[in-house]
Amino acid sequence: MLKKLFILVLLTSSVGAFGQGKFIAKNAFISFYSSTPMEDILGESNEAVTILDAEKGEVIFQAIMTTFHFKRALMEEHFNENYMESTKFPKTKFKGTIEGFNKDMLKGPVANIKISGVLNVHGVDKTITVPGTLGLVDGKLVGTSKFKVTPEDFGIVIPSVVREKIGKEMEITVKADYLPFGQ
């Protein structure tokens, strides 16, 4: 009985780690940071969803704008109402492919990768290539990325009065602890 159970656990765990299919993170982290002379602006969300296709190396990443949390309620309000227009554009999406993808990337130690794809923010599509890392941390597949975006590229209008107070570029940080799902 115990042996059977052991084999079963071994089977399911190996299928989990190395099986074909997809990896998912339902509570992925994404932050948005801008340094300003007055005050640093930091918005964080732990509610992004990302799926990694283990066959093709495709990555989909989505977040709901209103899940970004800021230190001050007023910042949150401005972010959603004035800049992101979250009612009109509730989500941000990224769909891309890991450059030079091979399945060993999902089984090895953390290594640097590049992902190219289309980022949609505020209803505007932009093709980007961003650096990242991917690999196993304590037996779990972890993906990260850090890159900069310019609000104006996505049609986000920042009034000239406050333009100087908001950094020209926003730093986006992404971190996902993937779990295998589906076959």
Binding site: K26, F29, N46, E47, T66, T67, L74, P90, D177
Partner: protein, 141 residues
């Protein structure tokens, strides 16, 4: 004499303005525990609405305070310490991130929650992303 009153009035107005400005700047986040729920719904019917007509449901529920009842299927802690409750379906159910301030004061209540049992939560609906995202939330019963 007259000019003195004008200056005083202007000063007073300035102070009031600055006061309002500061109050707005330091406005705290909404305390979910004190907010009245606008909708009381079953988790399953909420999932139905979002799965059938995501846009309609998003317009109806997004940023609204909801009281949601359903079966607790998963209870976990995120890396940053946030307590996470999932109702009805682990993959496509209702995912609730609990309010950290409320959690700090109500750890026994959270610990006593058992998976498989019914639970009612109150929180702000954020919309649909594979599952229904609710945050921050508190446990009602």
């Amino acid at each position: 004499m007259k000019i003195k009153y004008i200056i005083l009035t202007l000063l007073a107005l300035g102070f009031i303005g600055a006061g309002i400005g500061l109050k707005m700047f330091f406005k705290p986040h909404a305390d979910i525990n004190k907010l009245e729920a606008e909708f009381k719904v079953e988790a399953t019917s909420l999932m139905d609405e979002f799965q059938k007509e995501e846009n309609t449901a998003t317009t109806k529920y997004s940023e609204k305070v909801l009281e949601i009842s359903g079966k607790l299927v998963a209870k976990s802690k995120l890396k940053n310490g946030t307590d996470l409750l999932i109702l009805e379906d682990e993959m496509q159910g209702v995912s609730c991130q609990l309010d950290s301030v409320w959690c700090a004061a109500n750890q026994p209540a959270i610990q006593s929650l058992e998976t498989g049992k019914p639970v009612t939560i109150k929180g702000i609906c954020k919309g649909y992303l594979m599952e229904i995202k609710v945050s921050p939330a508190v446990v009602v019963k």
